[in-house]
Symmetry: C2
Subunit: 309 residues, 2 copies
Amino acid sequence: MAALFINPHEDPAPWRAALKRRIPDLEFRVWPDVGRAEEVEFAFCWKPAADSLEGLPNLKVLFWLGAGIDWLLEHRARVPDVRIVRLVDDALTACMTEYVVLHVLRYHRSQPQLDLQQSQQLWADLPQRLPWNRTVGLMGLGVLGTDAADKLKALRFKLAGWSRSAKTLPGVECFHGDDGLVPFLNKTEILVCLLPLTAQTRGIINARTLGALPRGAFLINAARGGHVVVEDLLAALDSGQVAHATMDVFEPEPLPVGHAFWRHPRVTVTPHNASLTDPEFSLAVVADNIARYRRGEPMVNEVDMAREY
Amino acid sequence: MAALFINPHEDPAPWRAALKRRIPDLEFRVWPDVGRAEEVEFAFCWKPAADSLEGLPNLKVLFWLGAGIDWLLEHRARVPDVRIVRLVDDALTACMTEYVVLHVLRYHRSQPQLDLQQSQQLWADLPQRLPWNRTVGLMGLGVLGTDAADKLKALRFKLAGWSRSAKTLPGVECFHGDDGLVPFLNKTEILVCLLPLTAQTRGIINARTLGALPRGAFLINAARGGHVVVEDLLAALDSGQVAHATMDVFEPEPLPVGHAFWRHPRVTVTPHNASLTDPEFSLAVVADNIARYRRGEPMVNEVDMAREY
């Protein structure tokens, strides 16, 4: 059995490698090298050329490599009558939210200190804060920030949010732009960075902004290494202005052996795994659905062309 | 200013100690030793004797030390016309859910392994699982289990639940009784114990039940130390049947220095702080409300006698 990659817009090589790791028994072919067409069971497809979906008599599932199916609806006549699954970056969002919630709770509940106490065989209570008296500040209020806010709200944290342009999110005190940054930071006890990296946001986590946080605040950076001015963060950690930082992203990556972050007692380093990235992540979702298909279970995010989603 | 404790059903000593720590400027008095009645600003009250709420001309807030206000409604005539706040164990529930979510995510995202990698300055990806392909099994489906299930569901985990008697929870595959235990454990990759400790549940986490988990499962015990047969858990950890265990509760407590759990590389020990317990916890809530009252902010769980809740 084979999978046919029909995506003129993307390099097939990482897809081939990921598929080989995840479903070694499935042959990977790249259109127009279809090979024996009757062996093609699955298509991984994005905006295909006019006739590329024709002549596949045993095609069972078309994996659409995008969330929106507007192209498919526009080109209905060309779409074969097979099961269709769209790629929702649900997984990416869910993973990022897991990361944010995990590390917010780790700080909120003093887990790094509890780990230290365990290493000393010390049984001692630490002052516990109620979540509705603890403010988590989210920088970046797109899909990721919004989803993280929802889950943190359910856990009853107080939430503040900051974005370049004005946004409103229910249950989140929203700030924006240059003028909103310091007031936002002034209330933020656990700062989570989920910003896109642009000329305007590069180096946004620096001496000035870290200094605007309440003393002993926590930092979680799951965005890009370029958001952080490393020397400023190290100084803020050493002075106690920042109590602890968790970072998933660095410049460069991998974080070089010997870098101060690796061994800093108040830094947690994760290897840029907060969320999976394409095509590794996409193939995880596709492979999961192929496994579900093979077991006769419902696939996740199957498209109903009649309902148009 | 003073607070008057009017609760013939409970020892006032731990309340006095907790209040002294949290609000040192507030004098603690125990009914019937009212002292100068005009100094009494707050009452901490549960099913008071007939006349104990009379003659307090400056009483501002009556903190009812229970969630249900049926007694107050029945005895309206005796209840002074002051603000009334009921004690909801929201805080207890929220804290327990935090603990469960934190440690489930810690395991789901391989954080103990990532901590180890950091100590080796090793940048390496670990296989990541999607939450909807990971089953968390909750033992105990009361208020705490239900709330934890809600939050884990929002994070998109697959959920199984087990209780002594049959229960149904939306989105949770529920099992019950002796017959349901092994089928429940067979699907559970992260086992969370929130059971009450009874003759029937003592020692429920033992060689037989741990052996019914899929190999490499995780255990989180936030219930009581008596649920776990220590030797059986240590054997399961050593054989790899259980990959890692997090425990908040032990027999006896504090966990003695030198106990195998303290230094076990695959055990996390927390000092019975998953959730705060009365009166420490209750006073945290009351003190928070007193602080809010003093700042002129709305109090949490203020009662509306007209709406009857």
